[in-house]
C-alpha cells in the first residue's frame, strides 16, 4: 500500500519532469556549452583582489526563472535587482558601479551547477545571491567553496547549504533566512510570552524532517521557558482521520496545540478539532503559509513566518512602498524580501570589508549586525542568521500580522 503510493508519486514526478524537460532543455544547453568552453583557461582561483575604485562589481543572481516554480525566481530576481538599483543610486559600492548577472538555475541541481560555473568562469563574478531551493543551493555552495566565491542564499533552509558533510562550516557560504527548527524556538517563545500558555500538546509527522525538526525545537524551548508539554502524538502524512488523537487532546486539556505541518494536514486537524469542541489556539510554522490554507479550519491559529508586509516596522513599510513603486503596485512576498535582504547584506559587508575579496567579505559578514527588512540579522557559527520571525494570526477568515518575535 505504502509502496504503491510511493510508486504513484514517482509516476507523477516522472510525468512532471518529462513535461518540464522540453522547455528547460534549450535554456540549460547554451550556458552549459559556454561554461565548458571557458572552463579550461579559468582553472586558477579567481579571487585576486580588484582595485577599490572605478570599474564595476558584478553580482550574480541565480534564481529559478523557468521550471516548476518560476514565480519564486521572478520574485527573487526583482527583490535583488531593486537592492542593486538602490545602491547604484547612492553611488555603488567601494566606488564601483554594481552590475547584476541574472541566470536561470531552475531550482534543480544540474542547471544550477551550469549557471554557477558560467557566472564564475565566464563572467568572473565573485559574489552570488541564490539559489531559492536547497537542492540547487547545495551544489552551488560546493562550487563557491571550491573557488572561493561568496554565496548568500536568500531562502534555502537546508542545513547542508552552509555545512560541509564533515560538519564544518563552508567558509564563504551564508543564508539570509533562518533554518527550519528555529521556527519551533520562536513559536515556543510566542506561546509563553504572548499566549501565556503553560501547557502544550505537540502533534507531528514522524516521517517528515521539517515537521519533526520544528516539533523538537518547540518542545525543547517550551520546556526551557517553563512550559510543560502535556502530550505528544505522531501521525503519518496519509492520515485523514485524526479523531483518536484529538480525543486525547481534549482529555489532556492543553492551553495550546503545536502543529508545525503543511496546510493540508492543518486543514484536516483544524476542522476536526473544531468539530470536537477543542477551542484552544493552534500554533504552526511557515508550512501553513499558503493560499490553500482553510481559514475556517485554522481560525484562531498562529504561525511563524519569515516576513509579513503588514509588519509595522519602518524598514518593512519603506520596502513595501518602494517595491510597489518599482513594480507597478505589486506587494513583495517573502522571496522578494529575502532576496533584497541577501543582496543588501552582501553589499553592506563588501562596503565594510573595504575590498573586493570574498574571503574578507565573509569575515565582515560573520561579525555583521544588520537591520534587514525581515529582521535584525547577526550570524551564528554555522552561518545561519539569528533574526526575528513574524507571527501571523488567522482570525475572522483573514491572515494578519500580530507580532515580530526575536529569539
Amino acid at each position: 500500500m505504502k509502496s504503491r503510493f510511493v510508486l504513484s508519486l514517482l509516476l507523477v514526478m516522472a510525468v512532471l519532469l518529462t513535461a518540464c524537460q522540453p522547455a528547460a532543455a534549450p535554456a540549460t544547453q547554451a550556458p552549459a556549452t559556454q561554461a565548458s568552453a571557458t572552463q579550461a583557461p579559468a582553472t586558477q582561483p579567481t579571487t585576486e583582489p580588484a582595485p577599490a575604485t572605478g570599474g564595476t562589481l558584478k553580482i550574480a543572481i541565480l534564481a529559478p526563472l523557468s521550471g516548476g516554480q518560476p514565480t519564486f525566481g521572478i520574485s527573487t530576481r526583482d527583490g535583488a535587482l531593486l537592492a542593486i538599483e538602490e545602491w547604484n543610486a547612492k553611488g555603488g559600492v567601494l566606488g564601483m558601479k554594481i552590475e547584476a548577472v541574472v541566470e536561470d538555475s531552475q531550482c534543480e541541481a544540474d542547471p544550477a551547477v551550469n549557471a554557477a560555473n558560467k557566472v564564475v568562469d565566464q563572467d568572473k563574478v565573485h559574489y552570488i545571491v541564490g539559489e531559492v531551493c536547497s537542492k540547487a543551493s547545495i551544489p552551488i555552495s560546493e562550487i563557491a567553496t571550491e573557488k572561493g566565491i561568496l554565496q548568500i542564499s536568500p531562502t534555502s533552509t537546508n542545513v547542508q547549504v552552509t555545512k560541509k558533510v564533515d560538519g564544518s562550516t563552508k567558509p564563504t557560504v551564508f543564508r539570509a533566512c533562518f533554518i527550519d527548527p528555529f521556527q519551533g524556538t520562536v513559536g515556543a517563545k510566542f506561546a509563553v510570552d504572548n499566549l501565556k500558555a503553560k501547557t502544550a500538546f505537540v502533534l507531528f509527522d514522524q516521517g517528515n524532517d521539517y515537521v519533526r525538526g520544528l516539533a523538537e525545537a518547540f518542545e525543547e524551548s517550551f520546556t526551557k521557558l517553563g512550559g510543560q508539554v502535556v502530550g505528544k502524538e505522531t501521525y503519518t502524512s496519509q492520515d485523514t482521520d485524526f479523531s483518536a488523537i484529538l480525543a486525547k487532546v481534549a482529555e489532556a486539556k492543553p492551553d495550546m496545540i503545536y502543529l508545525p505541518d503543511y496546510y493540508p494536514i492543518v486543514n484536516l486537524v483544524g476542522a476536526q478539532a473544531k468539530e470536537k469542541g477543542i477551542t484552544v489556539p493552534m500554533v504552526g510554522g511557515d508550512g501553513w503559509d499558503s493560499a490553500e490554507l482553510d481559514v475556517k479550519a485554522a481560525e484562531n491559529g498562529y504561525y511563524t513566518n519569515h516576513y509579513s508586509e503588514q509588519d509595522t516596522r519602518p524598514e518593512v513599510q519603506d520596502w513595501v512602498k518602494n517595491y510597489g513603486a518599482k513594480y507597478s503596485g505589486a506587494v513583495p512576498d517573502a522571496l522578494a524580501t529575502l532576496a533584497y535582504d541577501a543582496t543588501n547584506l552582501m553589499l553592506t559587508a563588501i562596503n565594510s570589508a573595504g575590498v573586493d575579496d570574498p574571503l574578507a567579505v565573509a569575515k565582515a559578514l560573520e561579525g555583521i549586525k544588520f537591520d534587514a527588512v525581515s529582521g535584525n540579522i547577526t550570524y551564528d557559527a554555522d552561518h545561519n542568521p539569528i533574526k526575528s520571525a513574524v507571527i501571523i494570526q488567522v482570525k475572522d477568515g483573514k491572515k494578519s500580522w500580530v507580532a515580530t518575535v526575536s529569539p
Binding site: 500500500m1 504503491r4 503510493f5 504513484s8 509516476l11 507523477v12 510525468v15 514522524q206 516521517g207 502524538e233 505522531t234 501521525y235 503519518t236 496519509q238 492520515d239 485523514t240 482521520d241 479523531s243 483518536a244 488523537i245 480525543a247 486525547k248 481534549a250 482529555e251 486539556k253 496546510y263 493540508p264 486543514n267 484536516l268 476542522a271 476536526q272 473544531k274 468539530e275 470536537k276 469542541g277 477543542i278 477551542t279 490553500e292 482553510d294 479550519a297
Partner: protein, 374 residues
C-alpha cells in the same frame, strides 16, 4: 508409497500444526490478549475517553462499510477484485466538491422556493448531491465494466485483476491532470454547518467557542448523518438483493452464470447493474467522506479503498453482512490502535488483524467454505 504415508493417520507434529492452523490461532490468541489488556487498561484509566474512541470508530467504520459493499458485490458475481473501486469513491467525493463548493447545487431548492423552511430545503439539497454523485459513479462504473472488464470475462482472472489496477491508476492520474481535478489538496466546503453535541448528564448542544466539559463524550451531526445514511443504504441494498426480481437474478448469476443464462437471465445486464449499485454506494461514501474530512485530492481513494477491501475480505468477500461487520471491525481497530497503541502503526495493526483472521478463517468471518454469493 510415500504419498500414502503422508496421508496416514500417524501425522507428524509439524503436519498437525499446519493442518489445524495452530500457529495462526496461537498468534491471534497472544495478540488479542495483549490488545484486550491494553484496552481494559485504557477503559479503567478513562471510561469516557474509551467511549469517545468507540464513537469515533463507528463513524469511520460506516464509511468503510459503504465502500466495502462494492468490492464484495462485484466479487460475489464476477469473481473480480475491482481495484478501481477506491478511485470511483474518489470521483464521488469530487462530484460532491464540484456540486457543493463550485456550483452550490445543495441550495437549489432554497433558491427556487425561498418560503420553504431552510432546514428542509438544505436536507433535500444535500440528498440531491448524494444522488447526483451516486448516479455519476454508477455511470462511470458501468462504462469501466463495458470497456475494460467485459472483454476479459473469459480470460484468466489475473488479466482482469491487472486491468483493474490499470483502471485504478488511470482514474488517479487522469484526475491529477490540472484541467480535471488538479494534483492539489482541495478544501471541500460542507453543505451544512457542523453541530456538535456532548453527552454529560444528558445530551447538550455545544455552542461554538464553548469548551466541552471534562468527562463528556462528543459526537457531531456529521457522524449521525454518516451512520443514518449508511444504514439506510445498507437496508435498501439488502432489500434489493433479497426481495426484488433483480436481486434474485443477481443471486442466480452469482451461483451459476451458465445456468442463469439458460434460465433466460440477461447475465451481462445483471453484471452491469451490480457494478452500478456497488459504485453508487461508493459514490455516496465519497460524498460522506468529503463532508466528514473536508478535503479532496486525486489519490484520496487509495487508502480508504484498500481498507474497505480488507474489511470485505475480513467479513468474507461476497457476503453483504460480512462487509458491514468487517468494516466496523476495521474502523474500531484503526481508531483504538491509534488511541491506545500507536498512531503511526494504526494501518499496520489493521492489516495485521486481516492476516491473523485469515490464518484462522481463510474465507473470512461470514465467508462460506463452498462458494460465495452476492
Amino acid at each position: 508409497m510415500q504419498r500414502s504415508s503422508s496421508l496416514s493417520p500417524a501425522l507428524t507434529l509439524g503436519q498437525r500444526i499446519i493442518r489445524r492452523r495452530l500457529i495462526g490461532r496461537a498468534l491471534l490468541l497472544v495478540i488479542a490478549t495483549l490488545a484486550a489488556l491494553r484496552l481494559v487498561q485504557g477503559l479503567i484509566e478513562s471510561p469516557t475517553l474509551f467511549l469517545q474512541q468507540i464513537v469515533n470508530g463507528i463513524q469511520l467504520g460506516f464509511v468503510y462499510a459503504l465502500i466495502a459493499l462494492g468490492y464484495t458485490m462485484v466479487y460475489g458475481i464476477v469473481r473480480l477484485i475491482n481495484f478501481a473501486h477506491g478511485d470511483v469513491f474518489m470521483v464521488g467525493a469530487f462530484v460532491s466538491f464540484f456540486a457543493v463548493s463550485r456550483y452550490r447545487l445543495h441550495l437549489w431548492l432554497a433558491n427556487l422556493v425561498p418560503d420553504l423552511s431552510p432546514d428542509i430545503a438544505l436536507l433535500i439539497g444535500s440528498i440531491t448531491v448524494i444522488l447526483l454523485s451516486m448516479a455519476v459513479c454508477a455511470l462511470l462504473a458501468v462504462t469501466i465494466e463495458r470497456i475494460a472488464y467485459k472483454p476479459l470475462r473469459n480470460a484468466p482472472r489475473i488479466s482482469a485483476l491487472i486491468t483493474a489496477i490499470g483502471v485504478s491508476f488511470f482514474l488517479e492520474y487522469f484526475g491529477a491532470l490540472p484541467f480535471v481535478f488538479s494534483p492539489n489538496f482541495i478544501t471541500n466546503e460542507r453543505p451544512f454547518p457542523v453541530v456538535t453535541w456532548y453527552i454529560n448528564n444528558g445530551i447538550h448542544q455545544l455552542v461554538p467557542g464553548e469548551t466541552v466539559p471534562s468527562g463528556s463524550v462528543t459526537f457531531s451531526n456529521i457522524a449521525v448523518i454518516i451512520v443514518v445514511s449508511s444504514l439506510f443504504l445498507l437496508l435498501l441494498l439488502q432489500f434489493i438483493v433479497q426481495r426484488t426480481k433483480i436481486g434474485k437474478a443477481m443471486r442466480a448469476v452469482a451461483y451459476d452464470k451458465a445456468t442463469a443464462r439458460l434460465m433466460g437471465i440477461n447475465v451481462d445486464g445483471i453484471i452491469s447493474i451490480t457494478f452500478a449499485i456497488g459504485a453508487a454506494l461508493a459514490g455516496a461514501a465519497g460524498v460522506l467522506y468529503a463532508i466528514a474530512f473536508t478535503q479532496v485530492f486525486f489519490a484520496m481513494g487509495i487508502l480508504p479503498g484498500l481498507k474497505a477491501f480488507v474489511a470485505a475480505v475480513l467479513g468474507g468477500i461476497g457476503s453483504i453482512p460480512g462487509a458491514l461487520v468487517g468494516a466496523l471491525i476495521m474502523g474500531q481497530a484503526e481508531v483504538l490502535s491509534a488511541g491506545y497503541i500507536s498512531t503511526p502503526m494504526r494501518d499496520a495493526i489493521a492489516f495485521t488483524i486481516l492476516i491473523l483472521v485469515l490464518l484462522v478463517r481463510p474465507t473470512g468471518i461470514f465467508g462460506e467454505t463452498e462458494r460465495e454469493k452476492a
